[in-house]
Amino acid sequence: EAGVTQFPSHSVIEKGQTVTLRCDPISGHDNLYWYRRVMGKEIKFLLHFVKESKQDESGMPNNRFLAERTGGTYSTLKVQPAELEDSGVYFCASSQEYGGGTDTQYFGPGTRLTVL
């Protein structure tokens, strides 16, 4: 069974540019999460999809971040325009059952975003 995949693995852009990150969850997983880890700090939640619906987007930093999950399969996270503080590693995770309390979340390898 293929794991969670993310593309690209690295992205280096200049401040003000746009970047789109992609996540392909494990097949059959309805729940898809985006997290971000800034250098040396904890992994922080950004948002949660259940199928194609945004269940919780309380962790999104601001309206420069836009996430979509059309058709309930893969998801994209767009940052427009990017700022220096957006640098970090963006992780995607997926889980089968609804609910973070008891369900195992499987993480992708992350996209390392550097904004210069």
Partner: protein, 110 residues
């Protein structure tokens, strides 16, 4: 509420044991343990749901105290492959995403 992990970092020689703690001032709904190696995906280790629960596989085990306010991860007879950053994560309630601790960096040296 973010769980508190301790220690922040630990260095071990191969074969030594380590304990990583994850605690909160309030009862935790559940505790999820992950290990992340540099540049790789966080890998799920185990989940604890009930007070007093203990789980383990191979030489890595974990416990959840009766009050569900602390979980400990035990690494025995450490191997070089155990190196990485260990995170505990917990949801604020049953159906919310995980809130992670700041991580414990474990380095195992020969």
């Amino acid at each position: 509420q973010q769980p508190v992990q301790s220690p922040q970092a630990v260095i071990l020689r191969e074969g030594e044991d380590a304990v990583i703690n994850c605690s909160s001032s309030k009862a935790l709904y559940s505790v999820h343990w992950y290990r992340q190696k540099h540049g790789e995906a966080p890998v799920f280790l185990m989940i604890l749901l009930k007070g007093g629960e203990q789980k383990g596989h191979d030489k890595i085990s974990a416990s959840f105290n009766e009050k569900k306010q602390q979980s400990s991860l035990y690494l025995t007879a450490s191997q070089l492959s155990y190196s990485g950053t260990y995170f505990c994560g917990t949801p604020n309630s049953g159906n919310t995403p995980l809130v992670f601790g700041k991580g414990t960096r474990l380095s195992v040296i020969a």
